[in-house]
């Protein structure tokens, strides 16, 4: 149903004018608030609205129905609207748009807003509000959305006059996508969008705010100092996070890293910022990072952190973090710098221009005669030898560290196979748990925006709706949701949305029959007392469930048939939603795993019996 709609942003005016609800007063159009919202979204070039109707947004929904050129995706739960908009945003770099009603519609959206906030994803959430004169009276479906969302938004607006809608929506989109991106809430009381009242619609071409001026480039002097540190480094590490992906800086990063021949690690959010299958990539770092990445971090003398925020899941014990390292930190958000780990050389600015300037400064220095201003190639070669030693010893990619000869299907090999059979080119969304870590470790992402997961908030239920948003934006790509039987049930209702809009995503349910990550911690810290991590034979028949929604279900229990069945699943998912239910070893653990509390970066369990 989407295909026959014209999505070009310019067509909006035409649509609006073709209805008799528009009056033209002089040169300025007179529109109702509802029509203004619809028109503003067209002006912003919005490709999809993810939402769910209700009383407070009925005027807006009517405006969308009458003349909007922007397709609306009706989800089955407002949480899914936010995750789908989020998946769309992560996979395209554009701003995701959500429309929900007041009260329960708004509160249902909260988890998804928080998810986007924690990972700095550009999103505009328009929520209906009860009529202005009822605000504060505990009216039906009234909730203080501005108050509830305050700590999890970049900014928010309560619209007080119809006249303000164009300016506020323009500003909301500007704030969501600029600087450090994030979700912006626009709460609109119902009376403001009523058809009876019309006001001039003059959509601003641009906005500027006296109180908001995100850095556009880095300080050249600081970059110069960073370059000097890098050129003098003997054991450098580049540590890149989601900011590189959000800042479209992957190419700039890759050029710099290759030029320097330095090792690079990515955070969970940064996977794909540098090609995962490249020799210089030492794997993810942190709690479930590779042995080589965590050791290289710990031993390094200079760390260049880009668009990463020294999260506790990365650093382990702060006081033991990388004791010898001088830390250079590039971030567009000054508040991210020296928040947890003190940075010796801060550079405030967006990743791309800073990295580009860094490389050009390096090249300028190298063009000067004399060898003093070069990377110390001998030291770097030695450093690589050390790293390669770690890789040989316990690296994840030099040989399988899990028991691949086991009769049980291992979750790791399912992900490896998915990687192989999709040529490493699929978009992979995930939920939260062991399956997420296996996907992160074993699907080596070569491109930014390919890996879509809730890193900061760790939201179970994210994977399927996010995959819908990705699929809408990339209809020809394979979009796989690697999930667990726990997580998938948190937004399973979206199978219905997939049906309505024909969104053939591939769901790979690594079914271990447990809340596996919880169980792993209980195995390791609570003598295997499985408090509430077991479902006791209550799991649904996922195949029948998929079929009930009109999809294809494939159950995989036999390791010998894994490859063939996975291939069938991938092929079938070109046309239909496929729910692959793979029965994996219920007792597998994710390794490496940093030892906490009180461990350093490089203190890790490497298997059920080995420690670093």
């Amino acid at each position: 149903m989407l295909k026959d709609q014209d999505k070009s942003p310019s067509s909006g005016a035409e649509h609006a004018k073709s209805t008799n609800l528009t009056e033209v007063n002089g040169d300025v159009e007179m529109l109702s608030g509802g029509d203004m919202v619809a028109r503003a979204l067209e002006e912003e070039g919005v490709e999809f609205i993810f939402g769910y109707p209700g009383g407070a947004v009925l005027h807006i929904y009517d405006a969308l129905h009458r003349h909007s050129s922007v397709p609306h995706i009706l989800v089955r739960h407002e949480q899914a609207a936010t995750h789908a908009a989020d998946g769309y945003a992560r996979s395209t770099g554009k701003t995701g748009v959500v429309l929900v009603t007041s009260g329960p519609g708004a509160t249902n959206a909260i988890t998804g807003i928080a998810t986007a906030y924690m990972d700095s994803i550009p999103m505009v959430v328009i929520s209906g509000q009860v009529q202005s004169h009822l605000i504060g009276e505990d009216a039906f479906q009234e909730t203080d959305m501005i108050g509830i969302s305050r700590p999890i938004v970049k900014h928010s607006f309560l619209v007080k006059r119809t006249e303000d809608i164009p300016r506020i929506i323009k500003t909301a989109f500007y704030l969501a996508a600029s600087g450090r991106p994030g979700p912006v809430v626009v709460d609109i009381p119902k009376d403001i969008t009523a058809p009876a009242y019309k006001a001039p619609f003059d959509y601003p071409a641009e906005v500027s705010l006296r109180s908001y001026a995100p850095a556009e480039k880095g300080h050249s002097g600081q970059i110069r100092k960073a370059v000097e540190l890098l050129l003098r480094a003997k054991k450098p590490m580049i540590y890149a996070g989601g900011g590189v992906i959000q800042g479209n800086a992957s190419a700039a990063l890759t050029d710099l890293v290759r030029h320097l021949n330095f090792p690079i690690t990515n955070t969970l959010m940064g996977l794909g910022a540098y090609p995962g299958s490249d020799r210089q990539f030492v794997g993810m770092l942190g709690m479930h990072g590779t042995y080589e990445a965590n050791n290289a971090m710990h031993e390094s003398d200079v760390i260049l952190a880009v668009g990463a925020r020294f999260d506790d899941r990365v650093t382990n014990t702060i006081s033991k973090f990388c004791p010898q390292a001088t830390i250079i930190h590039i971030d567009v958000d000054p508040a991210s710098i020296s928040k947890t780990v003190i940075s010796h050389l801060p550079i405030v600015g967006p990743a791309r221009p800073v990295l580009e300037e860094m490389l050009s400064q390096i090249k300028d220095i190298e063009a000067q005669p004399g060898i003093a201003n070069r990377v110390d190639a001998d030291a770097i070669a030695k450093w690589w030898a050390t790293i390669d030693g770690w890789r040989q010893k316990h690296g994840l990619y030099t040989q399988n560290r899990f028991d691949d000869s086991s009769e049980n299907i291992k979750p790791q090999e399912v992900v490896q196979l998915l990687h192989e059979l999709t040529d490493g080119k699929a978009f992979v969304t995930s939920d939260v748990g062991q399956h997420q870590m296996f996907a992160a470790q074993y699907y080596l992402f070569d491109q930014p925006r390919q890996w879509i997961n809730s890193g900061g908030l760790g939201t179970m239920g994210f994977g399927l709706p996010a995959a819908m948003g990705v699929k809408l934006a990339h209809p020809d790509a394979i979009v796989a949701c690697v999930t667990g039987e726990g997580s998938i049930q948190m937004c399973i209702q979206e199978l219905s949305t997939c049906k309505q809009y024909n969104l053939p995503v591939l769901i790979v349910n690594l079914n271990n029959g447990y809340l596996g990550m919880v169980k792993q911690w209980q195995d390791m810290q609570y003598e295997s007392r499985y408090s509430q991590s077991v479902y006791q034979d209550s799991l649904p028949d996922f195949i029948k469930l998929a079929e009930a929604y009109g999809h294809v279900g494939i159950k995989i229990t036999d390791k010998k048939q894994l490859r063939e069945q996975m291939q069938t699943a991938i092929d079938t998912s070109r046309e239909q939603v496929v729910f692959v239910d793979v029965y994996v070893d219920p007792h597998e653990h994710v390794y490496p795993m940093q030892i906490a509390p009180d461990g350093a970066m490089n203190d890790m369990y490497l298997s059920k019996t080995e420690r670093s």
């Binding site: 501005i146 108050g147 305050r150 700590p151 970049k154 900014h155 928010s156 309560l158 704030l175 705010l209 006296r210 109180s211 908001y212 958000d333 000054p334 508040a335 710098i337 020296s338 928040k339 003190i342 509390p597 009180d598």
Partner: protein
């Protein structure tokens, strides 16, 4: 393992200009509770430019925290400009209205104390004085200490406002 916190907190006066818009104040206050920062006093009012409010607050924290507080405050879209007044020479003032029992011999004694502090008696009944005092926090603390014996009935403090000395200004 429990660690012993060494208290290296210092008193900081943050003064900022923010949009005089609904929600702005709650975002500033919310930031403090959300991130576990402390607020000792808080005062806010519009400036000569009605689109701007000036907010002054006192927080007790260490150097790393004050850096985070100022960065996080600056990050709020409503916050236009900000200064840590305690970083330089500055003037700070607080207003107190205090109601004290003033009968018998105490009446004269309180009057004398008020004079010493250059406080003003702004309201009188046969048994009460309401006194207004403007000064630094220390001066106000000292006054309360001085009249304590004589039955303090009600104390209203405005919280500290401040301004930098000399050429330095916090304005658009």
């Amino acid at each position: 393992m429990p660690t012993v916190d060494v208290d290296i907190s210092t008193r900081r006066i943050i003064s900022l200009l923010m949009e005089n818009s609904p929600g702005a104040l709650s975002r500033v206050v919310g930031l403090f509770s959300q991130r576990g920062y402390n607020i000792e006093t808080l005062t806010v009012a519009p400036t000569d430019d009605v689109t701007l409010s000036r907010l002054t607050l006192i927080t007790l924290c260490d150097d790393q925290t004050i850096e985070q507080i100022t960065k996080q405050l600056n990050k709020l879209v409503d916050v236009v400009k900000l200064v840590d007044l305690t970083e330089g020479e500055h003037i700070e003032r607080e207003l107190m209205l205090i109601k004290v029992r003033a009968s018998g011999e105490a009446r004269e004694e309180i009057k004398r104390t008020a004079d010493i502090f250059r406080a003003q008696i702004v309201d009188v009944t046969s048994s009460l004085y309401t006194i207004q005092l403007i000064g630094t926090q220390q001066k106000i603390d000292a006054f309360i200490e001085a009249v304590k014996g004589s039955n303090v009935i009600e104390v209203v403090r405005s919280g500290v406002s401040g301004i930098a000395r000399g050429e330095k200004v916090l304005a658009l």
